[in-house]
């Protein structure tokens, strides 16, 4: 017999719920919009043929991103529990599926441990932009920021803020943070995108990202676009599932899921409109900067801000504040996965759960904060394979295991979308994800860490 939350005696108030549809959407968008929107999407697009990549990305968003988004939302809202509790409840305790829930909680906890350190870098850059701390020596500043006592200190601050938001509650904590930060983020991003558009030489940045070049499209482009469609939406890690568990039964999952996906894609494109023209305007869209990642933002873009004169203080501050908001709202959703597990399954108050999981995540991130190589490993692309596996499990579960999935998907929304979603999660989605998983294991794990071992004869 599976115990429900109420039966276990968890106070109804401990679990919480969204106070409004807007609050949920902003919180979910906050979860989806993260550092990847800014430092991964624009550069992936540029590398993969500009508009050609964006077209492929949108197609894959429809083929796998939206179905998985709908599926995660359906599982969470149906069970109204954390990932482990959801799989346990919906399968009546099937151990394999409970294990899948454990994977989600573990992955999210692992990711937040190092993600918090990077969010700490962003926070320090936001403060540093106010006084131009990195203007003289962006590279040297980044060296100081990324490891050591400074990184540890900001890691503590970010984790305390994250755990505090979760301790306050779903509506008063997570939702309130999102409803304040996300509009500010959008506003600042638009302001920056417009400002850098007027800089001399910024035009190269637009052509870098948008000029279509189908000759650049190959297998790796499709893999990159598919990965972006999954990871950018925070899928395969339990965050969306957990957020959906607080959603009202009357809400349309498919409508809300579509809005979240569109908003996330919009911010990713907006990210490109901020970063690439700024780099191009100062001749910095070359070498490592053109490859994206932390170096492009923390050294390349910092260098661009330092060349803007007085405006650099304002634009730099606006950029890193908006980047911090993106990272912080994502951090909240990542830690919430494990906090909800402790609240649901162990029947403890939310404050105590947030404290415990904050301490665990902080402890896990210490080693990433003091050693750059370990940070590089923890944040490496090998986690892509784990997230694809998570998305595959979601697809199989909703397509073949979950009862009444169509009803849950259609509830409050357009009838028929649920049936299409189920059809896709049974066929197209798992096929694509299996191919992606095999490729990810080969490219991101075997080639990276076991290059000398010829496992597959490839």
């Amino acid at each position: 017999m599976v115990k429900t939350q109420a039966a276990m005696g968890t106070p109804e108030g401990e679990r919480g719920a969204w106070s409004s549809r807007t609050g949920f959407i902003l919180a979910a968008v906050g979860s989806a919009v993260g550092l990847g929107n800014i430092w991964r999407f624009p550069f992936s697009a540029a590398e993969g043929g500009g508009a050609a990549f964006i077209f492929i990305y949108l197609v894959l968003l429809l083929l796998i991103g939206l179905p998985i988004m709908f599926a995660e939302l359906a599982i969470g809202r149906k069970a109204r529990l954390n990932p482990i509790g959801s799989f346990r409840k919906l399968t009546e305790g099937n151990r394999l599926w409970v294990g899948a829930g454990v994977l989600f909680v573990g992955v999210s906890l692992f990711i937040i441990s190092w993600y918090s350190v990077i969010a700490g870098w962003v926070m320090r850059y936001a403060f540093g932009s106010v006084v131009g701390s990195y203007f003289d020596d962006p590279a040297g500043y980044f060296t100081d920021v990324q490891t050591g006592m400074d990184a540890l200190g900001y890691h503590i601050v970010v984790m305390v803020l994250t755990a505090s938001a979760l301790a306050i509650g779903v509506s008063k904590g997570i939702e309130r943070v999102a409803t304040i930060m996300m509009p500010i983020l959008f506003t600042l991003a638009v302001f920056i995108a417009v400002y850098v558009g007027f800089l001399s030489g910024s035009g190269e940045g637009y052509s870098f990202m948008f000029a279509p070049d189908f000759s650049e499209v190959d297998g790796s482009t499709v893999r990159s676009a598919a990965g972006q469609a999954l990871f950018s939406l925070s899928l395969g890690q339990g965050a969306i599932l957990t957020y959906a568990s607080y959603l009202d039964k009357k809400e349309s999952l498919t409508t809300n899921g579509t809005i979240i996906s569109i908003a996330d894609t919009g911010v990713a494109i907006l990210g490109g409109l901020m970063v690439l023209p700024a780099l191009a305007a100062f001749g910095l869209l070359t070498g490592e900067n053109a490859q994206g990642g932390a170096g492009a933002l923390f050294i390349g873009l910092a260098n661009a801000f330092s060349n803007m004169g007085i405006a650099g203080y304002f634009v730099g501050t606006a950029f890193f504040v908006s980047l911090f908001f993106a990272a912080f709202t994502s951090a909240i959703s990542l830690l919430e996965v494990s906090v909800s597990f402790v609240v649901d399954q162990w029947n403890v108050p939310r404050k105590k759960a947030a404290l415990l999981m904050g301490l665990i995540a902080y402890s896990g991130g210490i080693i990433a904060a003091v050693d750059g190589e370990i940070m590089g490993f923890m944040s490496g692309s090998w986690t892509d394979a784990i997230l694809i596996l998570g998305a595959l499990l979601i697809s199989i579960f909703v397509g073949y295991v979950m009862k009444d999935a169509i009803d849950e998907l259609d509830r409050g929304g357009i009838r028929g979308v649920g049936r299409i979603t189920i059809a896709m999660t049974r066929t197209v989605v798992p096929i694509i994800l299996i191919v992606l998983l095999v490729l990810a294991i080969k490219v991101e794990i075997v080639d990276q860490y076991f290059a000398s071992i010829d496992l597959f004869g490839w």
Partner: protein, 212 residues
């Protein structure tokens, strides 16, 4: 005591002890890694003297070497010059003074190549810019007995004016070029490798673009 309370205490202890250990045991410059890149070799013509006097004239030109990387701690350059006239006809030996400047405009290397009046053929000089850096360390710091690796690490942190990405400039000044006829063209090529530190002990790879 509940299990959760016990876990909180355990992880609080881990957090405190881990932070302290990280703070005290962490040694930033312990094992920096560098990466070596090469830039392509490309010929660059020195402007020829069109109507200079027989002696005492000087022709010069500048070769820009873009090194788009910060924290350059070593730059090994080979500058090769080839006079066009063979056999040469000069009243006096031709002297080429080769000056290397970093992105901040500071001179970091200067060498001379001389061709006798009847001498032809390519000649080259090597620059090891790291030696220039280390020779310039302030006395107050240079009293330490550093290994070469430690010294380079230290230099990476100290020479903040060389952390900027930018153009390294090789200027060539030639006196007493060819006199009969009143012009002589020298082809110059620059090749080499640059070493830099990117971030904290992180290995970066990738070619740099640009050439002489």
């Amino acid at each position: 005591m509940e299990t959760v309370d016990t876990l909180i205490i355990v992880f609080a202890v881990i957090a405190v002890v881990g932070s302290a250990a990280g703070a005290f045991l962490y040694d930033p410059p312990a094992s920096p890694k560098d990466f070596v890149v090469t830039f392509t070799e490309e010929e660059h013509d020195v402007a020829s003297e069109e109507s200079g006097s027989v002696s005492g004239s000087t022709i010069s030109d500048t070769v820009d070497v873009p090194v788009p990387m910060p924290n350059v701690t070593a730059l090994e350059l080979t500058v090769t010059m080839s006079p066009s006239n063979s056999p040469p006809v000069r009243a006096n030996p031709a002297n080429a003074v080769i000056i290397v400047k970093d992105p901040a405009g500071s001179e970091v290397g200067r060498k001379t190549i001389t061709w006798a009046s009847t001498e032809s053929g390519a000649k080259s000089v090597d620059f090891d810019i790291a030696q220039q850096y280390l020779a310039g360390l302030p006395d107050s710091v240079d009293t330490r007995n550093l290994t070469a690796e430690e010294a380079e690490t230290w230099a990476a942190g100290e020479f903040t004016n060389r952390t900027a990405t930018g153009i390294w400039r090789v200027t060539v000044q030639i006196s007493n070029p060819g006199t009969v006829p009143n012009e002589e063209t020298f082809a110059i090529s620059v090749s080499g490798t640059a070493t830099h530190y990117h971030g904290q002990a992180r290995l970066e790879t990738g070619p740099i673009s640009g050439a002489a």
